[in-house]
């Protein structure tokens, strides 16, 4: 048994992917932070009579789909 000295296969993780990941972490972390710090803001109804809690949830789902499709297109174009 031995450790392979060639190092971790980090090269196969794309920098682009990590960038997209960082964007999503900010969005997701921002939502959790907001719920924890100012739960009262969740009752605000900024758009279409729908409250901020639901808009944030739908927005996070949409952001995941949009980022993943953008990533696929960007990687296919390389």
């Amino acid at each position: 048994m031995h450790d392979d000295p060639s190092g971790p296969p980090a090269a196969s993780v794309s920098r682009l992917g990590l960038g997209f990941f960082a964007v999503y972490v900010l969005l997701y972390g921002g939502f959790i932070g907001l719920v924890l710090a100012r739960p009262d803001l969740m009752a605000l109804r900024p758009f279409g009579g729908v409250n901020l809690a639901i808009l944030c949830g739908l927005g996070l789902i949409l952001a995941a789909v949009v980022l993943s499709v953008a990533y696929m297109i960007a990687r296919a174009g390389r």
Binding site: P8, A10, F21, A53, G57, V65, S68
Partner: protein, 577 residues
């Protein structure tokens, strides 16, 4: 509640399950080699694999658990939708391509690709088994909940039915048929949930739907006597004297005047109108005495706006206690990190031919799963106001919502939910049987198996896992299945994610570090869960206040603990032997 069994429902249900089993046997002929059995020859088309990801992932928890939690507790159920999908972002951007490049059959292959260590294989195989079993429990509980109203069978019969059917699927064909079962199930689930959502919006909001006149606000009591007989409000439970269905809208916004129905609404208008309405929710309390155990349901009219914000299920969050907030943050962290650590999701990357196909199938999966989770919000809220919920079982909200439209739709939705369970359970048993045959028997114990023997050992392991899953499914009756899956995510994320991430990004990682991180993360999260207030109350029947753990979701502590363990052990062990 007692539910009448309709021959039509039973017929449709039987046809669905028979169809799935037939397909499985037919495809089974293709999967006889080890490569075919465990990885479908690595030749599944990425689009099929993407929908199969959705079929694999959209388990009983997503369909039955989330809908039920939204229907009974409001927005907090939707937090699970948000977190379950967010986890896919980790899978796509960080894990998908390297894991495809590193592994062959199982998750242990990937983690062990650099080291060829028996210790890693053992630790990862055990963690795969623990996570798979924890994930299996809610699926089995969901199956048990489903057959009660559909077939008129007791909970345990449903658990055994699904256990036998799934074990048959896995034993006959392995990954090829598992993939197709998941593909079909994923497609059907999304189609029919889309249809249900359209029906909900077309119906709009109705005051006291399914009832007449004013809402009956008298409390209800269900008593189970020591001899097993059931009383409702002090009299024996019969078809004519049963708990009243719950889940009703009490008032519409003032702009509707005396009208009792809004008529068809668009998606945003539905949410906005509901927010200005009031609903009746039922608070459940339980107590036991010499006459038996009593569940008391007390109605309360509340502004729906209260239920459309966080805090309905995680009540401490609304109360703003520190432990409540930590519990919430911990759950959201577990959901985010858990998906990319689930063995049955990770093995699906070995069924496609290369890293590009792995990436594309993940994107298809995310789009399908994201669309589905948007629908869960409407399904849950539709159920909350459908007037047809069973107050004793949160897991039945989605099928009973379908029943409020038609008996046929109820049968179809129940059958799909059951195939949902079949699809996910078969994926989990595949992951577990791979861990036993490939990792434990062959790599850890060093038993050399021929191709044929490897498949046979996998099938024997699948039977064993099926039996364990059935037993636990009966034991955990009464839990919300979404909540149970949350626990599986906690264990998966704590045990597997630190090792996976550090292996990819930290060159100093050693095999001892990986073994320690997996073992400590798994043991700590499992111990935490078993010592939490929820486990005390619902598993051991003890007061939750006796539990030593301050909150029930361990990820916030045990994921960092896994990373810390890996770093410390790696720094103190030599990188090369």
């Amino acid at each position: 509640m007692l539910h009448e069994t309709s021959p039509l429902a039973v017929g449709i249900f039987a046809a669905f399950v028979a169809g799935v089993l037939w397909l499985s046997f037919r495809l089974g002929r293709k999967g006889q080699s080890a490569q075919g059995y465990y990885a479908a020859h690595g030749q599944v088309h990425w689009a099929v694999n993407g929908i199969a990801f959705a079929g694999d992932y959209l388990s009983a928890a997503s369909f039955l658990g989330i809908c039920g939690m939204i229907a009974f507790h409001g927005y907090d159920g939707f937090l699970y939708s948000i977190g379950f999908l967010a986890g896919w972002v980790v899978a796509l951007f960080v894990i998908a391509e390297p894991i495809k490049a590193l592994g062959k059959f199982t998750f242990a292959d990937a983690l062990d690709a650099r080291f060829d260590s028996r210790g890693i294989k053992l630790a990862v195989a055990v963690s795969t088994l623990v996570v798979s079993i924890f994930y299996l429990i809610p699926q089995m509980v969901g199956a048990g909940s489903l057959v009660t109203p559909l077939l008129g069978l007791p909970h345990w019969a449903g658990v055994i039915l699904v256990g036998v059917a799934v074990t048959l699927i896995v034993v006959t064909a392995g990954m090829v048929s598992t993939t197709w079962v998941q593909f079909i199930k994923g497609s059907l689930l999304m189609f029919f949930c889309g249809l249900l959502t359209l029906l909900i919006l077309a119906r709009g909001l109705i005051v006291n739907a399914g009832g007449e006149g004013p809402i009956d606000m008298t409390p209800q009591v269900r008593t189970v006597r020591p001899d097993g007989t059931v009383l409702v409000d002090g009299r024996p439970q019969t078809a004519d004297h049963d708990l009243r269905p719950v889940g009703t809208l009490a008032t519409l916004p003032p702009r509707y005047g005396q009208a009792r129905s809004t008529g068809p609404l668009g998606p945003l208008a539905y949410l906005a109108t509901l927010e200005d309405s009031t609903v009746v929710t039922w608070k459940k309390t339980t107590h036991a005495d010499a006459e038996g155990s009593h569940q008391t349901f007390v109605p309360e009219e509340r502004p729906a706006a209260e239920l459309l914000q966080p805090g309905g299920y995680f009540q401490d969050l609304a109360g703003r206690t520190l432990s409540g907030r930590l519990n919430f943050a911990s759950l959201m962290l577990a959901l985010f990190c858990g998906t990319a650590s689930l063995p049955h999701i990770l093995i699906r990357y070995y069924t496609v031919k290369d890293a590009a196909a792995a990436r594309k199938s993940t994107v298809v999966g995310i789009a399908a799963i994201g669309g589905f989770y948007v629908l869960t919000l409407f399904l849950g809220l539709g159920a909350m106001t459908s007037g047809g919920l069973d107050p004793t079982d949160t897991n039945m909200a989605a099928p009973l919502l379908a029943k409020s439209f038609s008996e046929t739709l109820f049968a179809v939705v129940s059958a799909i939910a059951f195939t949902t369970v079949l699809g996910t359970v078969s994926g989990l048993i595949m992951a577990g049987s791979g861990a036993v045959a490939h990792d434990l028997v062959e790599n850890v114990c060093g038993v050399r198996l021929t191709d044929h023997e490897k498949v046979r050992v996998g099938k024997l392991a699948a039977i064993g896992l099926g039996v364990v899953a059935m037993a636990l499914g009966i034991l955990f009756k009464g839990f919300n299945v979404g909540f149970l899956v949350g626990w599986a995510f906690n264990i998966a994320a704590s045990a597997n994610l630190p090792a996976l991430v550090m292996l990819l990004f930290w060159p100093q990682t050693t095999k001892q570090g990986i073994i320690a991180a997996v073992s400590v993360g798994m043991t700590a999260s499992l111990a935490w869960i078993l010592l939490s207030a929820q486990a005390f109350e619902k598993i051991y029947g003890l007061p939750g206040s006796l539990a030593p753990m301050p909150f029930s979701q361990p990820a916030l502590v045990t994921i960092p603990l896994g990373f810390l363990t890996l770093v410390v052990v790696s720094l103190f062990t030599p990188r090369r032997a």
